[in-house]
Amino acid sequence: MKNKYLFLIPFVGLLLTSCFNKLDEPKPQNSIKVEEALNTPDKIKKAVIGIYGNIRDGALYGGDYQMCADLLAGEFDIAWWGTFNNYENIWSKQMVADNATARTMWVFSYNTINSANKVLENIQVITDTDERNQAKGEALFLRALCHFELVRFYAQPYDASGTNAGLGIPLALKSDNFEKVKRNTIAEVYNQVVTDLLEAETLLPVSNSYFASKFRASAYLARVYLQMGNYTAARDKANDVIANGGYTLNATVTQAFTTNNSPEGIFEIQQNITQNAGQANAGLATFYGNLPTAGRGDIEITEDHLDLYEANDKRANDLIYIGDAANSPGGDVPSCGKWTDPTKNYVLMRLAEMYLIRAESNFALNTVVGATPLADINRIRNRAGLANLTTLDLDAIKTERTLELAFEGHKSHDFKRWKEDIDGKPYNHPKLVFPIPRRELDANPNLVQNAGY
């Protein structure tokens, strides 16, 4: 009987039924389900690591947070020569409303804040008090940093003498919050940043490898207070870090940028050859670097900036070099020597800044907490190979700060604080503030665009 092949039919039927379960079989292989991601103490700690992994991105502390502050400060110090028009437009104050850098910085910042909020909301999973405090402190610290950087770029500067009731940025304090939130005021944002950092300062241990620690929170508080013009608090935090933080000035001005986690380095983005912000299209060294081995030579240091240095200033002689990347065929392009290796750490905060904050604050308050302003300034000058000043005025403090911290992400923030013109524009000019990204306004009509966009 040829019909014996009919037995195939039930066999095939059997095959079918076994398929039903197969629909559940495919599983993600490089990710896990949310429900399984935060349910043990160890997993919470891994989620904390993840926040650092986010914040080191080229759009945040891997480059843009710092570089944009100097690009925005403008054409006096820097000539931008690259074709990344998103950066070029920041430098030349010609930003369009959907500037790509303004968009990615915003999106990545809130993404990072969300990973911190996820940790904070599940922090009770950690039962050990010390471990829980540390994880919570780290998440608060990193969340505060993002909010702080955002409010400095996307809102008008904090005015120590004002109400600061103007539009800040939305504070994201809840995870996975899809509500169409409004912008908080500038004051609310700064208050939250201070609150988070103060809590982090109490929760964090003194020593925590290169992760967030008590004195790192103190140092950031000093920076935030200074930005707010709260000189007393800024002075005291800076003094605390200088006196008790365990950091010491390096012997040379270059060491902080050539040695990872040097004695002077307070907080650094840790990088190596495999984990870094990028070597081709992102990262400080990519844009500042002007060497055959690193960088695109996009940022040229101007003669005007070079003229600011006194003769023999090591910060000019040792930290500014003539670049010879391939796209500088004429080979006469002064370039910044602080960011020349994309596989090395990016220094976010170093002790010299604490001395400068203490000096500026003491000077403003006419106090001598820790040391006289002159002594602090001379300490910085001596290290740069310069002679002592005998008298001190505010301009000298500003110049010292500008040169010592040049291209480390301070200048436009400082100029706004000092209410000084930038490239002929008043400190509160709309073009010195980033646009709220267009995609964000489209997705959230409750947000109000900044003036000028």
Binding site: E25, R56, Q271, G330, R439, Y453
Partner: protein, 997 residues
């Protein structure tokens, strides 16, 4: 008389009684040349009894008298003969000009063209043989009505956009489903580097017998959750019973870019940029130092005037060799073929080669059981050109100032404004090798009369290896290469499917035809990928990762998905004129969220062959007239494998591995659902010498799988939701006319398709990307509409670029009124082919056209921006504004200041085009001359591809689609009609010879 009647009665009675014993023999010949036709199937109608003519065209079979014999062969009109008492039946088959009786491949089967109630565009393999393109989509461009095919660029072997009746999705894939010999194959790219490669380029177009594009629900809904974008059925060549044949085809030629642009020479460059710097107040000393520092210390040397554009292109050599043999007998048929193609791209360094082999065979084991196999093995190798947006893209060389040299002292000059990517060709390489195996096996068993069980197993294995090495001299582009950099990436997709069908066909009383199909199928696709980077090599001679000192990057991953499906179809035909069809498919997939695991996809259709009606039968003028209509629901499930999950991924900080949220869960995530309505009319006039087809369709897609933009303050930028609606509706017209028949034949095929795409609903959101893009998706507009500032020209008073506001104009770009400034979707597309044959000569001229679409040249901000950056400028920038009163469209040159360079309608152009896509002149050497040489046929031909392009577009080529590499599917769907240093198509001329033994 009585006796006669009696004997007739006797014959009838005995005839019936001895029905099984009646043996019929005969010869089937070609009506035109009276030669025997092998391979004709001769079947007793309504049964599975039948045979196939041998090499001389003769046959023999037993059949009861009174039954009907059907003679059938593709390319000929079928004939039916009712058996009386004949024992010899000779048949002269008419070659089928009308194609109405063609057997067309449909979902899970075949059907006569006249009986089809769905909308199907067919392209014969013979129309696309020996065209100098690597993949079949390029070959069918303009030949199938309603199928828009856009090559991403002139780079060979790269991704091609295929849209069947428009884009039906925003965030999920819009490419059709490809089915080759029954296997749903992998068609999405898997490569890690640069732009998407095209997995369909692994298929040798010369192996293809026919391509059917299933366009409406009646035709495609049997593919259920994956049918919304249309289904492309590819059938490869099978052997034919009869005299075996061997065929060799060889062609060779070369190509050049379809067009070049003009850029400034040194004198013009210096003039424009000096002016541009002076206009922003730069001193002479500054200008001098800029040229010295950034361009060249020898910029004043008048002998250095490099035309960089020419350096980007090469002579694109082409050669292709195909050898195949086919044959068989009544029981077993086979086709074996091997092919090799070596096609250079017009961009320097770009090349595609493919070696492929195929074996198709089937055999009747006995009266009931037939088994068969189809097997293909291929290796494609792509010598890649870097992606459009990379400085390594040779076409970006045009940005170089002409005062810079490509070569210095006989060596490539590494010190240029931007990367001298010619260095890549000497000191680096980037290749992608793909190994592809397609295997399908089937067994078909006649369970009983009229009932066939068929079981099919299909395997599609795609393995790709990408290798790159960048030597020390390429570090200017890629600093990681300072001491040598290499990478090695692999991707493997193992895709298998099992399909079982039961097919019942029966004719009742000669008036009811029933064809019922029941089926089940399971498919699983498993992907694995890995990558390792190596850095620091001893010498550039060591290029393999194994020689690297350190490994800065590495990854591996995998994903999988599966589909479990059940389907059924019933076709019913009454009196050969009333047609009805109903189909249903149930699709379950791992991709769907837990709350919506199974989708239901029904379709129904009706057809009426009016020309069979008595009231029209007598009209000589109309030889065929059919009305048909269909409605059904299809789905689109071509999105990420785990879109319904909320996921945490890895986030690494130095040597600490951590986790971070990457997506938010949506357990209800399901397929996109498209309601398809189609209505068509098919008319044949003057004995079917002219055939006209018109289709109207309306495709409404709802439950779009939309990555809905959400405030990023949530931590996410989008949520995957089934929200939103999009509509495509349009009209397609095809005309096929045999203008002249006889010795001098002239045939014209024409098609035109109008599609109107509209996004109806996006849940109040819109999608835009900013940066260098203008495309948006917004409700009420076609997908990818160009939206932004409208350029208002130049202020004659001061040379400022102006933009329109709602009431007037402004020079402040941010204050411009943002509005629709273009539409990248064409008003209509199509093609027209004229084929002329006279004696041994044949001439085929094929034009393809696209009308009414806009292209945005995103590179305009660099290459046509009145000296904004240091990039060399297109010649038209010399028309810049210079003094008050100048009337021009090019603003004043202002170096490093924006003056009209931001994305706007200034760089949007009408990119309609008419292209002489293919022209082939062939000559068949007369048989008489061949007999002595024992050859069956010899044909020599010359063929040109893209010979002429008529367009107003000012760029290299109006056919562009420059999606960034690695960009999301959604981005690729929406960023359409964008040109960014996109290389043009090749204008290729080849000579070929085809010899048959």
């Amino acid at each position: 008389m009585k006796q006669i009647l009696l004997s007739l009665l006797l014959v009838l009675v005995f005839g019936f009684a001895y029905a099984q014993a009646q043996t019929i023999t005969g010869k089937v010949t070609d009506a035109t040349n009276q030669e025997g036709v092998p391979g004709v199937s001769v079947v007793v109608k309504g049964t599975t009894t039948g045979t196939i003519t041998d090499s001389n065209g003769t046959y023999s079979l037993s059949a009861p008298s009174g039954s009907t014999l059907v003679f059938q062969l593709l390319g000929y009109k079928s004939q039916e003969i009712v058996l009386a008492s004949q024992s010899v039946i000779d048949i002269a088959l008419q070659s089928d000009a009308s194609t109405l009786d063609d057997v067309v491949v449909v979902a899970y089967g075949t059907q006569q063209k006249r009986d089809i109630t769905g909308s199907i565009a067919s392209v014969k393999g013979s129309d696309i043989q020996n065209i100098p393109v690597p993949s079949l989509e390029s070959a069918i461009q303009g030949r199938a009505a309603g199928v828009q095919i856009t090559s991403g660029s002139g780079k060979v072997g790269q991704g091609i956009n295929v849209r069947v009746r428009g884009s039906a999705s925003l965030s999920a894939n819009n490419q059709p489903l490809y089915v080759i010999d029954g296997i749903i194959v992998t068609a999405n790219s898997v490569n890690a580097n640069d732009e998407n490669l095209n997995p369909m380029a692994d298929i040798n177009p010369n192996d293809i017998e026919s391509i059917e594009v299933l366009k409406d629900a009646a035709a495609s809904a049997l593919y259920g959750a994956r049918a919304s974008n249309g289904v492309v059925l590819i059938t490869t060549k099978k052997g034919k019973a009869g005299k075996g044949s061997v065929n060799i085809n060889y062609s060779a030629g070369s190509g050049r870019p379809t067009r070049k642009r003009e850029f400034l020479n040194r004198a013009e460059y210096i003039e424009l940029y000096t002016e541009g710097m002076k206009n922003v107040g730069r001193s002479d000393a500054f200008i001098e130092s800029r040229f010295n520092n950034r361009v060249s210390t020898t910029w004043k040397d008048p002998n250095i005037d490099t035309n960089w554009e020419n350096l980007a292109f090469q002579n694109a050599g082409f050669q292709q060799l195909d050898i195949n043999a086919s044959g068989g007998n009544e029981k077993t048929r086979f086709f074996v073929g091997a092919g090799y193609i070596d096609q250079k791209g017009i961009l320097v360094g770009n090349r595609f080669t493919r070696m492929s082999a195929r074996l198709n065979a089937d055999s009747k084991i006995n009266d009931r059981l037939t088994v068969g196999a189809s097997f293909m093995l291929a290796q494609s190798k792509n010598y890649r050109a870097q992606n459009d947006a990379s400085f390594g893209n040779p076409l970006q060389l045009v940005a170089m100032p002409p005062m810079q040299q490509a070569y210095k002292d006989g060596e490539l000059n590494p010190s240029t404004l931007y990367y001298n990517s010619l260095l890549d060709l000497v000191h680096g390489f980037s290749t992608a090798k793909t190994y592809r195996n397609l295997t399908s096996l089937f067994a078909s068993y006649n369970v009983m009369k009229n009932l066939t069980f068929r079981s099919e197993v299909g395997l599609d294995i795609l393995q790709q290896v990408e290798e790159r090495y960048y030597g020390t001299k390429t570090a200017a582009n890629f600093s990681q290469a300072a001491k040598g950099f290499g990478s090695y990436s692999t991707a493997t997709i193992f895709n298998y499917m099992i399909t079982n069908t039961l097919n019942y066909t029966k004719n009742f009383n000669d008036i009811h035809n029933v064809d019922i199909l029941l089926g089940q199928s399971f498919q699983q696709s498993e992907e694995e990928s890995s990558n390792v980077d190596g850095q620091i090599f001893a010498l550039d001679d060591f290029k393999k990762i194994g020689s690297a000192a350190t490994f800065p990057g590495g990854s591996s991953g995998g994903t999988s998905n599966n589909f479990l499906s059940y389907f059924a179809r019933a076709n019913y035909k009454f009196k050969d004129k009333y047609l009805a069809s109903f189909s249903l498919r149930v699709d379950g997939s791992s991709r769907f969220g837990k709350n919506s695991r199974y989708g239901l996809f029904p379709a129904g259709s009706l057809g009426w062959i009016i020309s069979e009606e008595d009231f029209i039968k007598d009209l000589d003028f109309i030889s065929f007239l059919k009305l048909r209509t269909s409605f059904g629901i299809t789905g689109n499930a071509d999105f990420g494998d785990f879109g319904s999950f909320g996921l945490y991924g890895t986030s690494v900080y130095l040597d600490n591995a951590g986790t971070t949220p990457i997506s938010f869960p949506n357990p209800s995530l399901g397929w996109e659902s498209t309601q398809n309505f189609d209505m068509g009319i098919e008319i044949g006039i003057i004995k079917n010498r002219v055939n006209l087809g018109i289709d109207y369709y309306n495709k409404q897609t709802s439950d779009l799988l939309l990555n809905v933009p959400v405030p990023s303050t949530s931590g996410y930028t989008t949520l995957s939701q089934n929200i939103g609606k999009i509509r495509n509706r349009g009209i397609e017209v095809t005309i096929n006319s045999n203008n002249l028949v006889g010795d001098f034949k002239w045939n014209t095929s024409f098609n035109i398709a109008f599609n109107r795409n509209k996004v109806l609903d996006m849940a109040g959101q819109k999608i835009s990307y900013g940066g260098r893009t203008l495309n948006e998706a917004q409700a009420g507009q076609p997908i990818g509409i160009l939206f932004g500032a409208k350029y208002a020209g130049v202020d004659p008073a001061n040379g400022d670029a102006l933009y329109y506001t709602e009431t007037g104009t402004t020079k402040d770009y941010n204050a411009a009124f943002r509005q629709i400034i273009g539409d990248p979707n064409p008003d209509f597309i199509g093609g027209i082919t004229n084929t002329l044959t006279y004696k041994g000569f044949d001439l085929n001229i094929f034009f393809q056209y696209v009308y009414g679409n806009d292209v945005y040249n995103a590179a305009g901000e660099f290459m046509s921006s009145n000296a904004r950056y240091l990039d060399n400028q297109t010649k038209d920038q010399l028309n810049r504004w210079r003094k008050p009163g100048d009337i021009t469209n090019v603003p004043q040159a202002r170096h490093q200041r924006d003056n009209g360079s931001n994305p706007s309608s200034r760089f949007v152009y009408d990119a309609s085009y008419l292209r002489l896509k293919t022209a082939t002149l062939g000559y068949n050497v007369p048989k008489k001359l061949l007999d002595n040489a024992k050859l069956a046929s010899v044909r020599i031909y010359v063929s040109g591809q893209n010979l002429l392009t008529f367009t107003k577009y000012i760029g290299w080529d109006p056919e562009v689609s420059s999606a960034d590499p690695g960009s999301t599917t959604q981005r690729a769907n929406i960023i359409i009609g964008q040109d960014f240093y996109t290389p043009p198509q090749a204008r290729t001329i080849i000579f070929g010879i085809n010899v048959g033994f």
